[in-house]
Symmetry: C2
Subunit: 138 residues, 2 copies
DNA sequence: ACCAAAATGCACTAGTGTTGCAGCGATAAT
DNA sequence: ATTATCGCTGCAACACTAGTGCATTTTGGT
C-alpha cells in the first residue's frame, strides 16, 4: 500500500489510479493549481474525471479552493489545522500579478475582522495581490 | 444639464443616454450589481453596450469591481476616498450566503496585513461571508 | 465469480467575459 | 452648411470555465 494510497484512505476516498496521480501532482506544486493546469498535465485523461476528482478532494477537505480574483478557481492541499474541514480557511493567499501564481501563506493567519452590528461573519476570504518573492528577485 | 450628466462629466465620461441610465441604476441600488442584473433591468439594451459601459465606469473609477467568490463580478459606485482611483480598494465587502447579496462596508477599512519578506503587497481583497443584517432579522 | 456501487468517458449545455466589425450619431474643422 | 472624424452602439461570434446526463467500465465486497 503506497504512501498516497494511505493518505487518501484517511480521507475516506477510494484510491483510484487517477486520484492518486492527481493528488501527487497537486502535492508536488509549490503553488495553487487551476483545473486547466491539471488538464494540461494529464492530457490523456478526461476533463470530467479530473473535474470530479477535484470536487471530491474539495468535499473531503483534501484540497481547498482559492478564489484569487482571476476568475478561475485554484486548488491547494489542505494542511493540518487549516480549518477547511469545518468550512474555515483562515490563512491568507497571495496572488502575484506578475507571474500570475497564487500561493498559500499558511502561517499568515487572517486577523480578526469587525463587521457591523446585525451581520454574522462565518468565513473570510483574504487575497493579497502584488509581487511574489521570486518575481521580486529578478 | 442634469445632475447625472454633471457627475459623468467630472469623470471625463461623455454622458450618453445609456450611460446616464446605467449610472442612475447602480446609484439606486443598496448592493453591488452584476452585469447580468443590469442586463435584466435594461432588457431592451444590448449586452455589449452595457458591458462596455461598466468597463468605462471602472476605468474612470466611477465604480469598482467586487469579487465576492461567487464567480461573477459585481460592481458598486466608488465613494470619495475609496482609493479606487489609485488602484486601492481599501474597504471590505460582505457577501451574504443567504440572500446572495454583496455590499460595501465602506467605513470598515481593511487592517494592516503582514506578508512574508520578499513579497510586495499592492492591493488587498477582503470578503467576509455570512448572514447580512436583513436576513438575520427575519 | 458475481453483484451493487462507485468511478469514468463522452457528449452536450449554460453562463460569463471578450473582441471584431460595420453602422450610426455627435462633434469639430473647413 | 458640408464634410471629415471620432466615439458609441448593436450584432455576431468566440474563448473559457463550470456543470450535467447517461452509458460503460472499474472497483470492492460477498
Ligand atoms: Mn490556502
Ligand atoms: Mn466596495
Ligand atoms: Zn510572481
Ligand atoms: Zn442576506
Amino acid at each position: 500500500m503506497s504512501e498516497i494510497e494511505q493518505q487518501l484512505a484517511e480521507f475516506n476516498i477510494r484510491p483510484t489510479a487517477m486520484r492518486m496521480l492527481v493528488y501527487q501532482f497537486i502535492e508536488q506544486q509549490q503553488k495553487a493549481v487551476s483545473l486547466s493546469v491539471i488538464e494540461d498535465y494529464f492530457d490523456k485523461a478526461d476533463r470530467t474525471t479530473l473535474y470530479r476528482t477535484i470536487k471530491t478532494f474539495e468535499e473531503k477537505a483534501v484540497v481547498h479552493q482559492i478564489d484569487d480574483g482571476t476568475g478561475v478557481a485554484k486548488y491547494a492541499l489542505c494542511e493540518p489545522g487549516c480549518g477547511c474541514d469545518i468550512g474555515l480557511d483562515l490563512h491568507l493567499h497571495f496572488h502575484c500579478t506578475h507571474c500570475n501564481d497564487t500561493t498559500c501563506l499558511t502561517d499568515h493567519k487572517i486577523p480578526k475582522i469587525k463587521v457591523p452590528a446585525g451581520y454574522i461573519a462565518e468565513n473570510i476570504n483574504l487575497v493579497v495581490k502584488g509581487i511574489c518573492d521570486l518575481c521580486n528577485r529578478t
